[in-house]
C-alpha cells in the first residue's frame, strides 16, 4: 500500500466524528487534551483574576475594596482552582497530548475513559465557579481544616462545594493517571526500552503513580468530611471521639505529594526544552531518571512539615525535617545536570529556553527557602506567614508554570500547526519574570516582619503597607504578562507562521509527525533505536518501522513493560457518546449528594445504563475485521 492510500485508510479508521453529538463522542487523545489545556488555562485565568483582586485589597492597610467574606471566598477558590483545576489537570493534559506521540503509539490507553475524565473535570470546575458567582463559594481555605469546615462552624453548603469539587477532580485525575501509566508501560514503540524512555515521559510516569498513591488519601478525607456534614458521622469531632488532626494527616499525606505531582511533569518539560535548544541530549540520563523516581518516593515522607506547629513530639519532627531536606538532593542533581547540559551544548535563546532559564533562577530560590522551611524551629516563626506564600509561589509558579509556559511556546506549533510569535514571546517572558519577582520577593520580607497569611486586611500601624503595595504593583505586571500570552495565542492560532513538522530541531519522536499530527499519529509506527527519537533518525532515508498493524481497524501494538518488545495487538474503541452521558450522570450525582444522601440511590440506575452503553460490544461495519481473536503478530520489519 502506498503512503497516500495508507493515510486515507488510517484517517478513515481513526476518524473524529463531526456535529454536536459527534464532537462530544470524540476519543482522540489530542482533541481531548486540547480541550483539557484550554479549559485549564481558562480556570487559571479566572483564579488569576481572583488573585489580582486580592492583591488590590491588600495594596493598602485597612482597605475596603473587598469584604472579609469576599476575600475569604476568593483566596479559597483561588487556591483550590489553581491546585485542582489548573495545575494538576494541565500537567496531565500535556501528558495526554504528548505521551502517545513521544512513545510512538496511535492513541492513549482507555480512550473513552479519557473523554469521560475530561467532562467530569469540566463539570466540576463549572460547579465551583458557579458556586462562587452565586455567593456560595467555599470560604474555609483550599486545605479546609476541620472543625472550621465541619458541620458546626461551616454552615450552609460552602464547604460541601469544596469537598465535592475534590471528588470531581479525584475521579478525573485518577482516570488520567491510570491511562498515562498504562500507555507508558504497555504501548511504547518497539525498541523503546526503559533506558530509552524520554525524560518527559518518565516524569509523566512518576506523576501518574504519585497520583494513584496520593489521591486515595484525599478521597478518604473529603468523603469523611462530607459524611460528617451530610449524615452526621463524627470522624473529625473531638467531642465524640473524632480527631481534628486526623484531617490534617490525611489531607497533607495527599497535599504534599500534590506539590510534586505538579512539579515533576514540569521537570520533564525542562529536560525536553533544554535538550532541543542546546542540540544535545540531557547530560546524565540515569541520574535524571533516578532523581525523578526518588522524588516520587520521598515526596510521600514530608507531609508533617505542614504541621510543625501542632505540637507533635520533637523526635518525630526531626525525621520530617530530615526528609524535607533530603528531597532537595534529587532536585539539586537535576539542576546540576541541566547546567552541565547547557555548558556542553550550544544554547539557542528562543522563548521556551528563556522560560526555562527563568525557571532555574526562580525555582532554585524557592527550593532554598523550602530548605529553610524544613527546619522545624525556623518554620515555627515563618509558618502560615507571607514567607510561605512567597516560597510556594516560587516553587509552583516558578517551578511549574514557567516551564509550562515554556512548554506552551515549545509545543504550540505541534498542537496547532502554527508558530507563536517569538518577539511577543520574549516580551512575555521578561514581563512575567519581572512581574513575578516584584510580586513575590517582597512577601518573604512581609512574612519575617510578622504578616500572617489569609488575612483580608491589616492595620496601618503594622508597617506592612509599602511592601504590600510593591507586591500588588508586581501582580498587575504579572497579569499583563498573562494577557500578552493570551493575545499571542489568539493571534497566532489564526495568523501565526505555519509550523513544519520539526520547527525547533527537536529531540523527541513527537517531531517526526506532522504539525498538527493526524488523528492516528503515526503513518508507520516507528521502531526506536535510541533515546533521541527524532535525532536518531536524522539522515536515515528509511528509518525502521513496524508493519503488520491493521489500518482498517483501531489496532494498537502492545509491547512488554521493560524491554518494549512487541507482545500482542489490541483494538481501541470507536468514538462514543456514552462516556459523555456517563459524565453527566456522575456530575449530577456528585452535585446532588451535596444536598441529599438520596442522590446515591437515585443515580445508580442511570449510571448503570450509561456504563452498559459504554461497554456494549459493538460490531459495526468498520470493525468486522477487528476481532481480538485475530491479534496474531505478523513479522516486524526493521527491528534491530
Amino acid at each position: 500500500m502506498t503512503d497516500e492510500a495508507l493515510h486515507r485508510q488510517l484517517a478513515d479508521t481513526w476518524y473524529n466524528p463531526a456535529g454536536l453529538v459527534g464532537r462530544l463522542s470524540i476519543v482522540d487523545h489530542k482533541v481531548i487534551a486540547r480541550r483539557y489545556i484550554v479549559t485549564a488555562f481558562t480556570f487559571f485565568s479566572i483564579a488569576g483574576v481572583l488573585a489580582a483582586l486580592m492583591r488590590l485589597q491588600l495594596a493598602f492597610p485597612d482597605n475596603h475594596f473587598l469584604t472579609a467574606d469576599q476575600y475569604n471566598q476568593f483566596f479559597t477558590v483561588h487556591g483550590t482552582a489553581m491546585m485542582f483545576l489548573f495545575a494538576v489537570p494541565v500537567m496531565e493534559a500535556m501528558g495526554v497530548y504528548l505521551v502517545p506521540i513521544m512513545i510512538g503509539t496511535r492513541a492513549i490507553a482507555f480512550p473513552r475513559l479519557n473523554a469521560y475524565s475530561y467532562y467530569v473535570y469540566l463539570f466540576g470546575g463549572v460547579m465551583l465557579f458557579t458556586a462562587l458567582f452565586v455567593n456560595s463559594g467555599p470560604d474555609v481555605g483550599w486545605f479546609s481544616y476541620v472543625p472550621l469546615a465541619g458541620p458546626d462552624f461551616g454552615p450552609g453548603k460552602r464547604p460541601d462545594f469544596w469537598a465535592q469539587l475534590i471528588t470531581f477532580t479525584e475521579v478525573a485525575g485518577l482516570a488520567v493517571a491510570v491511562e498515562l501509566a498504562a500507555t507508558i508501560l504497555k504501548t511504547r514503540a518497539p525498541g523503546m526500552t526503559v533506558s530509552r524512555i524520554p525524560l518527559f515521559v518518565w516524569a509523566m510516569l512518576v506523576m501518574a503513580f504519585m497520583v494513584i498513591f496520593a489521591m486515595p488519601s484525599v478521597v478518604l478525607s473529603s468523603t469523611f468530611l462530607l459524611l460528617d456534614r451530610l449524615v452526621g458521622t463524627q470522624f473529625y469531632n473531638p467531642a465524640e471521639g473524632g480527631d481534628a488532626l486526623l484531617w490534617q494527616h490525611l489531607f497533607w499525606f495527599f497535599g504534599h505529594p500534590e506539590v510534586y505531582i505538579i512539579f515533576v511533569p514540569a521537570l520533564g518539560m525542562v529536560s525536553s526544552i533544554i535538550a532541543t535548544f542546546t542540540g544535545r541530549p540531557i547530560f546524565g540520563y540515569p541520574a535524571m531518571v533516578s532523581s525523578l523516581v526518588a522524588t516520587g518516593f520521598i515526596g510521600f515522607g514530608l507531609w508533617v512539615h505542614h504541621m510543625f506547629a501542632t505540637g507533635l513530639p520533637q523526635l518525630g519532627l526531626t525525621y520530617f525535617t530530615a526528609a524535607s531536606m533530603i528531597i532537595s538532593i534529587p532536585s539539586g542533581v537535576q539542576i546540576f545536570c541541566w547546567i552541565v547540559s547547557l555548558w556542553r551544548g550550544q544554547p539557542r535563546y528562543a522563548t521556551p529556553l528563556l522560560f526555562v532559564l527563568g525557571f532555574v533562577a526562580i525555582f532554585v530560590l524557592g527550593g532554598l527557602t523550602g530548605v529553610t522551611l524544613a527546619s522545624t524551629p525556623f518554620d515555627l516563626q515563618v509558618h502560615d506567614t507571607y514567607y510561605v506564600v512567597a516560597h510556594f509561589h516560587y516553587v509552583l509558579l516558578g517551578g511549574a508554570v514557567f516551564p509550562l509556559i515554556g512548554g506552551v511556546y515549545f509545543w504550540f506549533p505541534k498542537m496547532t500547526g502554527r508558530m507563536l510569535d517569538e518577539r511577543l514571546g520574549k516580551w512575555n517572558f521578561w514581563i512575567f519574570f519581572i512581574g513575578f519577582n516584584t510580586t513575590f520577593f517582597p512577601q518573604h520580607l512581609l512574612g519575617l516582619h510578622g504578616m500572617p497569611r489569609r488575612v483580608y486586611t491589616y492595620p496601618a500601624s503594622s508597617g506592612w503597607g509599602t511592601l504590600n503595595l510593591i507586591s500588588t504593583a508586581g501582580a498587575m505586571l504579572l497579569a499583563m504578562g498573562g494577557l500578552l500570552l493570551l493575545f499571542n495565542v489568539l493571534r497566532s492560532v489564526r495568523r501565526g507562521a505555519v509550523a513544519p513538522a520539526d520547527p525547533w530541531g527537536g529531540e523527541g519522536l513527537e517531531w517526526t509527525v506532522p504539525s498538527p499530527p493526524p488523528a492516528y499519529n503515526f503513518l508507520h509506527v516507528p521502531v526506536v533505536e535510541g533515546r533521541s527519537g527524532n535525532w536518531d533518525r536524522r539522515g536515515n532515508e528509511a528509518p525502521p518501522v513496524v508493519t503488520g498493524i491493521k489500518a482498517d481497524c483501531r489496532e494498537v501494538l502492545i509491547t512488554t513493560v521493560t524491554a518494549a518488545e512487541a507482545d500482542h495487538k489490541t483494538i481501541y474503541p470507536d468514538p462514543s457518546i456514552w462516556p459523555f452521558l456517563c459524565s453527566v450522570v456522575t456530575s449530577a450525582f456528585f452535585i446532588g449528594s451535596i444536598f441529599t444522601p438520596w442522590a446515591l440511590p437515585v443515580a445508580i440506575p442511570p449510571l448503570a445504563i450509561t456504563l452498559i452503553g459504554w461497554f456494549w460490544p459493538k460490531r459495526s461495519d468498520r470493525s468486522t475485521q477487528c476481532d481480538l481473536a485475530n491479534n496474531r503478530l505478523e513479522p516486524l520489519r526493521g527491528e534491530a
Partner: protein, 313 residues
C-alpha cells in the same frame, strides 16, 4: 508596632533568629554559586574538546562531587536545626508562670492558674501580662476551631487545637509591648484576632495580677451607675462576666477590668470612648462574623454603658 521575627526580645525568638541567619547565609551562598554556574555555562566560549567522552567523564565526577557537597550541607543543616530545636524544649524552671491560652473565634483568653488556690484564677482576655526574665509555660487549647498562638518577637507558633492540650513556653528579656496575632485561618475575622503581650518587671506584674484578682469596682458617677444597671438588665449578661456583679457568662471576654486594657475587640481598636461606642453599637461592622449583636441600645443608653465599661479599671 512590635510584631517582627527579626527583632527578638526573648530566648525562643532569639534562638530561632540565630538559626535563621545560619540558614540564610548557607542558602545565599548556594544560590549565588548555582546562578554563577548557570551564567558561566551560558556565556563561556565553546570548544571542540567539550564533545569528547573524557569531558563527559569529568562532568560525571563534578556532578557526583556537587551532590556529595549538597548532601553534607543538608546533613549539617539538619544537625544545626536539631540543636536549636532542643534548645527550645520547655525549661524546668523552678517557678515558671503558668498560663492557659484558650482560642475563641476571634479572641484570646489567658487564664492564670494558681496551683495552690484555684479561687485565685485570673482571666485576662486579649492581653497577656508577663514578668520579664521568667519563663512562661503555656497550655494551648481551643474552644471552637483551630487557632495559632504567635508572638513573633518572643516565640514561634503553637496551634490551639480543639480536643488537644499541648504545652509550650516563651520568655521576654526586655520590658515592652509585643503584638501577637492568630496564624491559623479561623473564619471571617481571622485577620482581626490579635492580642498584646505586656512584658513588665516582676513587681509590676505581681501588682497587676493582684489587681486583676479583685472584683469590679462600684461605679462612682451617675452615668456609670446607669450603665451598670443597663448592662445587668440587657442582653450583655448572656455572654459577658463582670466579677462582683451577677453577670457571670463565659461566652465572651470577661469585662471585670476592661477599662484597664489597651485595646478592645482583640487588638483591633484602641480602648477609647469613641471606638468602644462604635463597637457596642455595631460590632459585626468592625469584625465580620462576630457574635455580639448590633443595635442593642439607644445612643443615650450606649453612652452610659460605655461610661460604665470605661470605669472598670
Amino acid at each position: 508596632m512590635n510584631q517582627s521575627a527579626l527583632d527578638p526580645h526573648g530566648p525562643v525568638a532569639r534562638t530561632i533568629l540565630d538559626l535563621g541567619w545560619v540558614l540564610f547565609s548557607v542558602t545565599v551562598v548556594v544560590y549565588v554559586l548555582v546562578l554563577a554556574g548557570l551564567a558561566w555555562a551560558l556565556l563561556r566560549q565553546r570548544r571542540e574538546s567539550d564533545r569528547t567522552p573524557a569531558a563527559d567523564r569529568r562532568f560525571t565526577s563534578i556532578v557526583a562531587a556537587l551532590t556529595g557537597v549538597t548532601t553534607l550541607t543538608l546533613v549539617g543543616l539538619v544537625a544545626v536545626s536539631e540543636v536549636s530545636g532542643r534548645a527550645l524544649a520547655v525549661p524546668h524552671a523552678i517557678r515558671p508562670v503558668a498560663v492557659d491560652v484558650v482560642g475563641h473565634q476571634w479572641w484570646w483568653e489567658f487564664r492564670y492558674r494558681d496551683e495552690n488556690d484555684p479561687s485565685k484564677l485570673v482571666t485576662s482576655p486579649n492581653e497577656l501580662h508577663i514578668p520579664v526574665g521568667v519563663p512562661i509555660v503555656m497550655r494551648a487549647m481551643s474552644q471552637d476551631v483551630i487557632h495559632s498562638f504567635w508572638v513573633p518577637n518572643l516565640t514561634g507558633k503553637r496551634d490551639l487545637i480543639p480536643g488537644q492540650v499541648t504545652t509550650t513556653w516563651m520568655q521576654a528579656d526586655t520590658a515592652g509591648i509585643y503584638r501577637g496575632q492568630c496564624a491559623e485561618f479561623c473564619g471571617p475575622s481571622h485577620a482581626k484576632m490579635a492580642f498584646l503581650v505586656v512584658a513588665e518587671p516582676v513587681d509590676k506584674f505581681q501588682s497587676w495580677i493582684q489587681h486583676q484578682r479583685e472584683p469590679a469596682g462600684v461605679p462612682t458617677t451617675a452615668p456609670a451607675a446607669q450603665g451598670r444597671d443597663l448592662f445587668l438588665s440587657r442582653q450583655c449578661t448572656l455572654c459577658h462576666a463582670i466579677q462582683g456583679t451577677p453577670a457571670g457568662a463565659r461566652l465572651g471576654p470577661d469585662l471585670t477590668h476592661v477599662g484597664s486594657r489597651m485595646t478592645i475587640a482583640a487588638g483591633t481598636l484602641a480602648n477609647e470612648r469613641d471606638p468602644l461606642d462604635a463597637w457596642v453599637e455595631n460590632a459585626p461592622s468592625i469584625k465580620p462574623g462576630v457574635r455580639m449583636p448590633p443595635h442593642m441600645l439607644e445612643s443615650s443608653e450606649r453612652e452610659a454603658v460605655v461610661a460604665y465599661l470605661r470605669s472598670l479599671q
